[in-house]
Amino acid sequence: DAGITQSPRHKVTETGTPVTLRCHQTENHRYMYWYRQDPGHGLRLIHYSYGVKDTDKGEVSDGYSVSRSKTEDFLLTLESATSSQTSVYFCAISERTSGGLLQETQYFGPGTRLLVL
């Protein structure tokens, strides 16, 4: 999984409670992403980061916030979890250039299964 870990790997929580998921990388890659994966929808981008303290919204950002205080860590927070946020969450990392070639290849972590009751 390209030096990417996610924690926790599984979590069950109740509606209305805050939840924080952590992504940690050992690759020193600049770009980090949070996706959610749901049946029939594929992977959808929630937020991404292009450096420490630099983040931006993705396709499905409502109800989520992120923070990146260190290169290696990217946190995803659900301020008040809802049942519609039950999903599998994946973190991904990428580095833009390899041998001078601009690229957008992303490497994914193992995922976090979140169930909101």
Binding site: D1, I4, G42, L43, L45, Q103, G109, G111
Partner: protein, 109 residues
Amino acid sequence: QKEVEQDPGPLSVPEGAIVSLNCTYSNSAFQYFMWYRQYSRKGPELLMYTYSSGNKEDGRFTAQVDKSSKYISLFIRDSQPSDSATYLCAIGILNDMRFGAGTRLTVKP
């Protein structure tokens, strides 16, 4: 209409068959094209990536991009039971990759 459409399958083939997986997209600005393999309860694993029209080959895998038709394909030759997985296409631009919903493939011994 989704920006990336992928044949949902499921697809079941005998061992040794040639497999063809396809995606179409709607945004002509998309310039990065990738295929990922995802085993059950695992993260997606990058298989192939390309940034131009044409074919790219890597072992038993060939990725094909036709920008004029907005159509990409992944071919798997001599398919093996270990190829049984869900295959995701990813198409997009920097910081905005769009993923297909995935095609579930089963290769039977």
